[in-house]
């Protein structure tokens, strides 16, 4: 694993879904790109163009039908489910459009969850720092369900960054937020990624947000166009 190895590399990746009608849906087709540590990559494209599918493959939640997805040199498709899970646990952070905070846990517990999952006790300090950084320390003991959308997404970002992931994946992180909140959340995300020197791959519909990336990819019916 050399230092200049890209964090994530897609090599001629395709993802096919068989349809109930008998046909095959090519959600992704011959997609190749890579992303190096410390870089930010934006993905745009219409609804149904395959953005989320791409992110799922990058996270090892799904495996490609053809081609290879490699994470720091390891071919995710060749790993077992358990190995992929461990990579996700230790090296990948996820931020979702719908936040996915557990409503019955407190804000702090939501942030701490990845630490619990990894049985890692060293995160407490870091978790508090992150919460402080996003300005939500005061809410730590509140149930997550009482927060506003923008606050929830900030908590979700803390959760994603808790274990210092090498790769942060965000699927329309501001898709459910108004403009003001979108800006706050996006700025935070960018700053935090810069601080941490991780790689960021994010999906967005906003030209403005896409412009903040080092590089942009555009998906059209599963095929990639570089801009």
């Amino acid at each position: 694993m050399s230092l200049d190895e890209p964090v994530l590399r897609f090599h001629s990746v395709a993802k096919h879904y068989s349809q109930p009608s008998g046909g095959v849906l090519k959600a992704l087709d011959d997609v190749s790109f890579e992303i190096a540590a410390g870089k930010k990559l934006a993905i745009t494209g219409r609804s149904g163009s395959g953005k989320s599918t791409l992110l799922h493959l990058a996270a090892g939640i799904d495996i490609p039908s053809a081609g290879a997805v490699s994470f720091v040199g390891r071919d995710l498709g060749a790993l077992t489910d358990r190995q992929r899970t461990l990579i996700r646990r230790d090296d990948i952070g996820l931020v979702f459009q719908f936040f996915y905070l557990l409503p019955h846990l407190t804000v702090w517990e939501n942030v701490a969850l990845p630490g619990w999952i990894a049985s890692d006790r060293t995160f407490e300090e870091r978790g508090r720092k992150l919460l402080d950084r996003v300005g939500l320390s005061a809410f730590a003991t509140q149930p997550a369900s009482t927060l506003s959308g923008g606050e929830m997404q900030r908590v979700a970002i803390c959760r994603a960054l808790l274990r210092k992931p090498r790769l942060l994946l965000a699927d329309e992180p501001t898709g459910n937020l108004d403009d003001d909140n979108s800006e706050v959340v996006m700025d935070l995300l960018m700053q935090l990624v810069d601080d941490e020197q991780g790689a960021l791959l994010y999906v967005t519909h906003s030209e403005e947000q896409a412009a903040q990336a080092d590089e942009r990819l555009s998906l059209h019916s599963g095929r990639l166009e570089r801009t």
């Binding site: 799922h56 996270a59 939640i61 799904d62 489910d81 358990r82 899970t85 461990l86 990579i87 996700r88 646990r89 230790d90 990948i92 996820l94 979702f96 719908f98 996915y100 905070l101 557990l102 409503p103 019955h104 517990e109 969850l113 990845p114 619990w116 999952i117 990894a118 049985s119 006790r121 959760r159």
Partner: protein
Amino acid sequence: MIRYFFRALRAQLRGGVLLFALSLFGVSIGVASVVSIQIINLNALGAFRGSMLAVSGSADLILLGKMPTLPETLYPEVLATPGVAAAWPLYRVDVTLRDADPIVLEVIGVDFFTAIDVPWEGEAVDVSAALGQSGWVAVTATLARERGWSVGERLSVSIGTRTAELVVGALSDFEKATPLASPRLAVMDIAQAQSLLGSRGQVDQIDVKLVDGVDEAAVVAALDRKLGTKAMILTPEQREEQAADLLSAFRLNLTALSLISLFVGGFLVFSSTQAALVRRRTEFGLLRSLGATHRQVFGLLVGDVALLGLAGVAVGMPLGYLGARANIDRVSATLSNLYLLEEIHQLVVPPWFFVLGAAVGLAGAGLGALAPALELGRKDTRSLLAAFSLHARVGEKAPRWFAAGVLCVLAIVGVYAVAGDRWRPAGFVQAFLLICAIPLLTPWLVQLATSRLPVRSFGLAYGVKGLGRQLQTTPVAVAALAIAVSMVVGVTTMVSSFRDTLDIWIERTIQADIYVSTPSRRRAASHATIGADVIERLKRHPAVTHVDRLRQFFAYTNGRRFSLAGVDASVPVDRARFALLEGEVEELPRDSVLVGEPLARKEGLHVGDDLVVDGPDGPVSFPIAGIYYDYSSELGSAFLHLDTMTERFGGGTVASVALYLAPDSDADDVVDELRVAFQATPLSMRSNRGLRERAMQVFDQTFAITRLLRYMSLLIAVCGVALTLIVLARERTSELALYRALGASRLQIFRIYLGKGLGIGAAGIALGSVAGVAFALILIYVVNRAFFGWTIAMHWPLGLLVWQSAIVLLASSVASVYPAIIASRTPATELRREDL
């Protein structure tokens, strides 16, 4: 809407066959428990009723001897009473077949020239043979087929130490007259029956047919004047009621236990309806917003429940029947050992019974679904569409429910303070309150326990803590399990306390070295006597130092039948022969009586009171010198000195004897020697140890069905754990997908669900154990005393209870394996859904 119902049903079944199967299982096992117990209850008296109908079916009145027989000379007097159209005397004696398979024949001696009507198999029988041929007997065709007998077969039978040779002279078919009739009924001439098997000049019963239109009460009064205390005058219905009364406590208790199974089954329905409601709330909201009425949506849910109930009945009824059949032998043994009734020969299920079964199943399912359905009814369209949180609502109400539960507990104590064991239903009211208290107390306790639980990692504890956040489902499973556990703990404690008490009591009261009676003793009671010559021969055995004789018959006090025994205590024993509850006596007193606890409790008797017994020439009364612990039978008993008995009730023969041996002899060896010496005499001999073992065996047999019943509800409750966890795994797909996306391994998810199963199990055991202690107290101090009149010393079978708890815990973790597998298989891609 009907079309929508079936469309939706199909979709639901496809989605959750297992859920449906589990709730179906709960309902059907509940129904099966109730149905099988009711079938058994219904048939417990079947043989008795059958014999009565077969023999006295056409009688208007039945005159029964109290002493226990009647002098034959009363017969002409009865016949001469105005209003009596016909009467026929009966001599009944249960003889034992001297065979490798020694069954009991219920011999009825009849006078063939009276109005009695025997249903013959085939053409009418020439009854002159019945009088002429010695030992002529007619057996049922069914029994003849069973045993391979035909006309001319010689049967050797015994009654007491007497033996007789009978000859099958004809075949009868009582089943033609009444399907319940016992195949063991045998008919012979009354004079032959008296001389071969009993005593001349005595009859057991006189059946009376009245003149049409005559005033029954007037005839009864006239007969009563003539017979005095010698006989009881009953209508066939009263006779049957008398027997039913005898069994009422036994039957009621079994019914109550089986209802608990149904109750726990109802919880399963509750869980699954609740789950369906949570799952389908948006669907219902949408239907409402599309214009479906309240009633239509409610109807959808009711339709589901009705279907579940009916399916439960369809499975539960046959299962119940099979359950009843499988348990006939156990119950039969109890009936004949404890209540001296005939055994159950066949099960008859009347058509109305199916209606009852269906009603029970539907009611169980309906009650289970009631609360969730009402919940739905109260929801307006908007709140259905909005993702309302049932959990939060339960959480808010939990403290109030807890308070209600505490009130229930206080009410239990209150009932005890007011009614104690004097008011019979008190125990059931308390048990019911207890069972209501458990589900009321549970939610808040679960909330409290889980909120205190510190979570530091994503493992078992995380899973358990999660339970506190599923208040709409978890407490239901916990409560169902707790109820089942409380029943197991309560009944186990009661049974094993009873067993210990009995053991100590037997140790104390069985003091002779060898007990001798006859094979026909159990059933034929006072007819089965031991000849004086036999007793003389027993005395002559070199190892025998003393012989106690015991004469016993059923007597009546206040219309209550009880066993009156006369003993000649020839041996000065070092320890008191009776374990006394009240009074102080060293030896059996000469002129007073000792009364057993069940009889004393039922009749409200104490030391110093008089026991008034119906004697041959009117009531005889004895001062009560003591009340002894008595666990031999629920009927009640009393002891007199044998001489006093002879003085007051006339002479009679002895039914059993107790032998005391020289100190250096071995009881088992002596028994063996006596068996050889008395080979030709029908005697049954048990050494002290043998008798004790036999008593414990009878005890265990009696409670076998109870044991079975309590495990039924446990089984249902464990299914409830599985059901709840499956619902959790299904409903929480997004949550599980999120864990997977965050890097939780399958094993971790599996462990979390196992933790939930263990958590429910542990909570159920904890709550159930506490409630079980209360249950045991109610059973021992209230129900037992009120219904059976036994004092049971409390012994906590700790080892057994710990063992049972371990099994329950194991069962709940086993029940959580499958849900845990489902949960662990949730793919991270399921995170598409919005609801979390």
